[in-house]
Amino acid sequence: MFSKILIANRGEIAVRVMRTAREMNIATVAVYSDCDRAALHVRLADEARGLGASPSVESYLNMDRVLQAAEASGAEAIHPGYGFLSENAEFARRCRDRGICFIGPPPRAMELMGEKTAARRLAARAGVPVVPGTGPQLGDSTEAERAARDIGFPILVKAAAGGGGKGMRLVTSPDRLASALRDAGSEARSAFGDPAVYLEKYLRSPRHIEFQVLADSHGNTVHLGERECSIQRRHQKVIEECPSPVMTGALRDRMGQAAVSMARACGYRNAGTVEFLVDRQQDFYFLEMNTRLQVEHPVTEMVTGLDLVRKQIQIAAGQPLGLTQEEVRLRGVALECRIYAEDPEKGFLPSPGLIRSLSQPSGPGVREDSGIYQGWEVPVYYDPMLSKLVTWAETRSEAVSRMERALGEYRISGIKTTIPFFRNILAHPKFLSAELSTDFIEKYYRPDRSLPGREELREVAAIGAALYASRARASEAGRADRPESPWKLWGRWNGLRR
């Protein structure tokens, strides 16, 4: 087993990985950019190395600097977390070349799954259903239109190298196809440097259900059941749960077997996730494979009782899985809400800044994986996710009630967060009855729908503001707290205002 590892990431996932490393008696090395010098992951690490300036390309995405930090600290392995360098096959190769273990899959498997149409072909060969569609060679617009008619409208035009909704167009009738191909291709070129697009059947209101797999270097591959991640905003998952409310034992066996086949087909090792869309007839279609630890892995951990990061490290160190498919047992229900620094009242505008007061929820059935603390200034440079709030209970309705309780206990001021958004969603009858789909938020989220009792709290807010103002007025320093009006600033800058 390793005696020291470097975590090439920041925030909550860096903290998450360090926790398990410490439990395994492995020393941890944090890396940080300039603005992350006082971040929680740096505070909790055994060692810490600065990478450089705050923008990701000069720090967390800079392979040379990350590798230098690993060598300088004597780390034997690197855990990449998610995002940043986690799905970068070149980085994995460079680790290997320097004799540093990359805690993740082999570079070849990452590449195979990174190119969407190649992954689709591999799935089809492995006997795993894929959404009907084409490869990236579409030919001229007549041929493309013929292919589209064969699939049947509506269809999606998608970037072959794509992800995150970039280079994607929904086409509902043949006459819009040509322009959609042109727009998507041009967007794909600027986003990924590759204009290749392909066609895929558009499923209406599908569920997003993914399977966690683990594969060791001794030929053992198992799945750990599914996660339903249908609640998405801007193609980003925001609430995940395990198990899926629509799952049956038989369907789990079939989908799990498909997930294991995909992992075997690409020579996978370590933890990975096979994503599917599931339609109303419970037919499932391979979507893509994520070759890393997922943000939402804790819901699987709560329900299976396994520590996925421990498994990742053990697999990377060459240990056998020590777990058969029959030994994987699911118990109860877990939910996760991703808490973002965004203002739900202003169209989810980013809300970086100083956390002035904070109390985090705890107690029975609550886990928080967080990268923040009171007094921390959330930087403007990175993803706005602050923490992941996870609840577990024997039943789904209890897990939902527990999440509502935990969200209500979560108090943060100084920045805006998506906590009120989640309280709104969780209180929706369609959420409680588990009628989930990837267009749930479009269909049901109403930002102006107040929680019961909110109006009474508004009055209390007014009193709180007055109490604060009375203190501020009493002290000389009070004024300094409040930024000046931009109007005044403007006037000072260019003399337009008198």
């Binding site: 505008l349 706005p384 001021s413 100084g414």
Partner: protein, 170 residues
């Protein structure tokens, strides 16, 4: 905290409301919305209070911001505007006026990635003027009114703070 007696003009949910506060230590009397309330106040920190009002317990976090205060009550967030008695108008970031020049200011710290209009150009209300990126998200800021671009204060690639004026439309 000693004795305090003051009247505030607050803006709640777009409406101006007067609040009269009389505080002596942990006891406060509040006149607001035609009601008179006794409040038991416990100061938890610079930015947080515990209030008990008619037997109900409330946990309150207050942060000053450009528009007044962000007040988090029992986990629910509210924006409370404060009218400056010396200027008699709520100081609000990005506030627009029907007549006269209107500024588009940065709603959060970030980086200007694109400028979509030039000085002297005619624009219509809602038209995107500047794209600011923060936390890996791009946000297009629309024109608050139809008019002419009087000034563009920023360049592409420039870092801006919350409240910084970016473009002036008249």
């Amino acid at each position: 905290m000693g004795q305090v007696e003051a009247t505030y003009e607050l803006v709640l949910d777009g409406r101006r409301r007067r609040l009269r506060l009389k505080r002596s230590g942990s006891r406060a009397r509040v006149e607001f919305g035609g009601k008179s309330l006794d409040v038991d106040v416990s100061q938890l920190s610079d930015a947080a209070f515990s209030l008990i009002l008619e037997g109900r317990s409330h946990d309150v976090g207050v942060s000053p911001n450009a528009g007044g205060f962000q007040v988090v009550v029992d986990g629910e967030s509210f924006q409370v505007g404060l009218v400056d008695p010396r200027r008699d108008s709520p100081s609000t970031s990005g506030t627009t006026r029907a007549a006269g020049p209107a500024a588009v200011s940065a709603p959060m710290p970030g980086k200007v990635v694109r400028i979509l209009a030039a000085e002297g150009e005619d624009v219509s209300q809602g038209q995107g003027l500047v794209v600011v990126e923060a936390m890996k998200m791009q946000n297009e800021l629309p024109s608050p009114k139809s008019g002419t671009i009087r000034a563009v204060r920023v360049a592409e690639g420039q870092a801006v703070n919350a409240g910084d004026p970016l473009v002036l439309v008249e």
